[in-house]
């Protein structure tokens, strides 16, 4: 399957500040890719580079087969971009906005537009400047979904929204998954975990991992071992893929970042005095927290590498 988005060692510097540091990434067509990371991690910078809002300092990227520098004009007939802090034409009503943008898109679907207006319960006569944050986001989303873009790019779309609106938006995106590629950024892991197929984690401009969410969830486990006696330190031959080891009086806890079916055997060999072994799957949030705390970069995988979305 071809890639909807590819970046190669792409970086962005603002004088001495490195906003994005040599990010290499591949997002397959049809994926729902969640780019997560703390505020200021470089998510918005990466998205704006891809949307050609500004050029990269070094590196390159392609979006739907176009070099990022060529993403303009007609290219946006197939690409949708919605951002939490986008400046909308506030003097227009929602109806005016839809009327205005409609002629820009040859593939605009009037039926879908009507369906979205109804689904989002959009007040067509109300001006954008008088809308709540959630309603603005729904109006913006309706104005891009109606032309059935091949790629939807969302920058923090759910930030500051109440749960009801957030679920509405997620539902509408979920309905489009498969027919379109969705690339969204968020600093809240829990909100994207439910529908993302791929996930990438940015920290201080560096991409710490990028892979299918299912694979990520499969290989991370939280391990707790209760010992018969006192434990002072981890076994000397413990693998480097065991993150954040903590030894208390009679127990050992760590995160295994390369969990396989052989892991229980290895645990038994390294902890012969174990009286109880607990191996639990982890949420995306706890995986990210574990990686962030470890300060290590687990073997980073490129989404789509040797797998299908």
């Amino acid at each position: 399957m071809s890639a909807a988005i590819e970046t190669y060692l792409i970086s962005k510097h603002y004088r001495r500040t490195v906003a994005l540091d040599k990010v290499t990434l591949e997002i397959p067509e049809g994926a729902v890719y969640a780019l997560v990371g703390a505020n200021g991690a470089g998510k918005t910078t990466l998205i704006r580079l891809l949307m050609n809002i500004f050029p990269p300092s070094t590196g390159s990227a392609t979006v739907l087969g176009l070099a990022s520098g060529d993403v303009s004009g007609h290219a946006f007939e197939r690409i949708a971009y919605v951002s939490e802090n986008q400046e909308m034409p506030d003097a227009l009503t929602i109806g005016g906005l839809l009327d205005y943008v409609r002629p820009f898109y040859p593939r605009w679907d009037l039926e879908l537009e009507a369906q979205l207006v109804q689904q989002f319960d959009l007040p067509l006569q109300r001006k954008l400047k008088h809308l709540s944050r959630g309603m603005r986001m729904k109006a913006a989303l309706a104005s891009v979904l109606a032309y059935r873009p091949a790629l939807i790019v969302l920058d923090e779309p759910f930030s500051g929204l109440d749960p009801l609106v957030r679920d509405e938006l997620i539902e509408s995106l979920r309905e489009r998954s498969g027919e379109t590629t969705i690339f969204l950024s968020s600093h809240d892991m829990s909100e994207v975990e439910s529908f993302a197929t791929h996930v990438g984690f940015l920290e201080q401009g560096r991409l710490l991992f990028s892979e299918r969410l299912a694979v990520l969830a499969d290989r991370f486990r939280e391990v707790q071992i209760t010992m018969g006696g006192t434990v002072k330190m981890m076994p000397p031959h413990a693998p480097a893929t065991w993150l954040n080891p903590q030894c208390s009086e009679s127990s050992v806890r760590f995160v295994d970042s390369q969990y396989t079916d052989d892991t229980p055997v290895m645990l038994a060999a390294l902890f012969p005095d174990a009286v109880k072994v607990s191996i639990e799957p982890m949420t995306l949030r706890s995986i990210v927290v574990a990686i962030a705390r470890s300060g290590r970069t687990p073997k980073s995988k490129v989404a789509g590498e040797g797998e299908t979305a």
Binding site: G73, E77, Q86, F104
Partner: protein, 504 residues
């Protein structure tokens, strides 16, 4: 084009209030501006109103241009339109169409109405009207559009404008403290206009095609700094030598220094800078053929003392015109007061460069001064004001009228006797300019000028005589034959001898 029209229609819907404001100001301008024409304007209660309304016209343009450009702001990274399928030539075209529709078209019709109000036929001046639109584009609309294109909102545009005004003020202050240079030449004017328009267009294209705001700002700042630097310290010699090539011909009008002391009774002109002093060179002029005249436009002088001390002035505008038969005159020049104080008693030689225009008289027209309006060659419409201080008040289409010499004979008594006695002194006055461009830059296509006819007194009486209806006027148009530069060198003289004694 379809996209441009779509954006244009949206802008019209969004900015109808601003459009209405601009149209209202333009309508007021057309209505009120003509009331200020003439020596005795029709508005006497609030004489500042025509000026204020005229000032509002560019303000309304600035508001309209800024608002419409900021509808798709070119500065920033958050605008919704930059990730929509906008094509930049279409967007730029939409804005150009908006400006054309709501600034150029109303302005054009306003000028037509003003011409009609002045008694002229607008269709006779279509070329001038379009040339005026070109000037307005280069001098007002494009700079306003550039300011809007490099700022993100109206407040920032105003801030940028304020900075520009402060910058211009600073340059003007610097200009006032540096030695005077006050020349104008058509070569520099045309070159400056072309370069400025090219930079403004480049800035707009850079912004619309690439949104490279820093680069666009760099272009604008470089333009302002370059023009200021050239204005203050520029190689004026080059542009002067292009407009006024150095003459090597022995024939034609020729200036020489006269070895005559300055007229002690002359009054000292007010000096606008205490660091300068005006000196007057007595000159003799010869070789002015009948039917021609010589206009001295600019002069510069180099002073060399016997001990080798040297001081050279900048080019300075003069504006004397000599007719055949006139042989003596004076050329005034501002020089450094410090240099004067130091060297005033020392003998020195002066090498003066004189940039002058040779004029040729055309066919002289004679007419009887009517009680009401009359037309001058070139289309200007004049009337006898009957007011001391301005004998004739003229309205001219598109620009100052062509250069003309108007002659008459005054009447000693008042104008109650018909026909007038015409028993007074002869009178003479210049009107117009030598520019040949189809229009002068301004917000109006109708230019006012007043002719003061100098009373060539016989010496018996200096009382002002009267210009009465029924008097004969002779109108002689003058056109440019050539422009050249002559160098004249004086015998040793002292600076002190060049300053009117009553002035110090």
């Amino acid at each position: 084009m379809k996209q441009a029209l779509h954006i244009f229609a949206k802008d019209v819907r969004l900015y109808w209030i601003e459009i209405l404001g601009t149209l209202t100001v333009t309508a007021l301008f057309v209505w009120i501006y003509p009331m200020g024409w003439g020596i005795l304007p029709k508005i006497s209660l609030w004489p500042w109103v025509p000026g204020a309304i005229t000032g509002l016209v560019p303000v309304s343009w600035l508001v309209l241009i800024t608002r419409v450009i900021h509808a798709e702001s070119l500065v920033g990274e958050r605008q919704f339109w930059i990730t929509r399928p906008y094509l930049w030539p279409q967007l730029l075209g939409a804005k150009a169409l908006f400006v054309a529709t709501f600034i150029y078209v109303p302005f054009f019709f306003a000028q037509c109405l003003l011409l009609r109000e002045a008694g002229m036929h607008p269709l006779s001046h279509l070329g001038g009207l379009f040339f005026l639109l070109l000037l307005v584009t280069g001098i007002a609309v494009l700079p306003m559009a550039c300011l809007a294109a490099v700022t993100s909102n109206f407040a920032k545009t105003l801030l940028a404008l304020l900075c520009l005004i402060l910058f211009v003020g600073g340059v003007a202050y610097l200009s006032s403290i540096l030695p005077t240079s006050s020349t104008t030449d058509s070569f520099s004017d045309v070159l400056s206009f072309v370069v400025a328009v090219a930079v403004f267009v480049a800035v707009l294209v850079i912004q619309y095609a690439r949104r490279r705001t820093m680069l666009a700002w760099a272009f604008l700042i470089a333009l302002a700094v370059t023009f200021s630097a050239l204005g203050l310290f520029g190689p004026e010699e080059f542009s002067m030598s292009v407009t006024y090539p150095v003459s090597s011909k022995a024939t034609g009008p020729h200036l020489t220094f006269r070895q005559a002391p300055a007229d002690g009774s002359a009054t000292m002109p007010d000096s606008d800078d205490s660091r300068e002093i005006m000196v007057f060179f007595p000159v003799a002029i010869s070789g002015i053929a009948p039917g021609t005249a010589v206009k001295v436009d600019n002069v510069r002088a180099g002073f060399t003392a016997a001990d080798g001390v040297r001081w050279v002035s900048h080019w300075q505008g003069v504006g004397h015109t000599w007719l055949p038969g006139e042989t003596n005159g004076r050329v005034g020049l501002k020089i450094s007061r410090a240099f004067y104080d130091r060297m005033k008693d020392k003998p020195m030689t002066v090498e003066m460069s004189v940039a002058m225009t040779l004029l040729k008289r055309g066919n002289v027209t004679h007419l009887m001064l009517p009680a009401k309006k009359f037309e001058l060659p070139g289309g200007s419409i004049c009337r006898n004001t009957g007011v001391l201080g301005g004998d004739l008040s003229c309205l001219s289409p598109m620009r100052q009228p062509p250069l003309m010499l108007i002659g008459t004979r005054f009447t000693t008594e008042d104008c109650s006797v018909v026909p007038p006695l015409n028993d007074g002194d002869p009178g003479m006055g210049w009107i117009g300019a030598l520019d040949t461009q189809p229009a002068d830059f301004g917000l109006t296509s109708v230019w006012e000028s007043t002719v003061w006819l100098e009373q060539l007194s016989s010496g018996q009486s200096s009382a002002r005589q009267h210009l009465c209806p029924g008097s004969q006027l002779s109108i002689a148009p003058y056109t440019v034959v050539s422009r050249n530069q002559q160098k004249i060198v004086s015998q040793p003289l002292t600076l002190k001898s060049l300053v009117p004694t009553s002035g110090l």
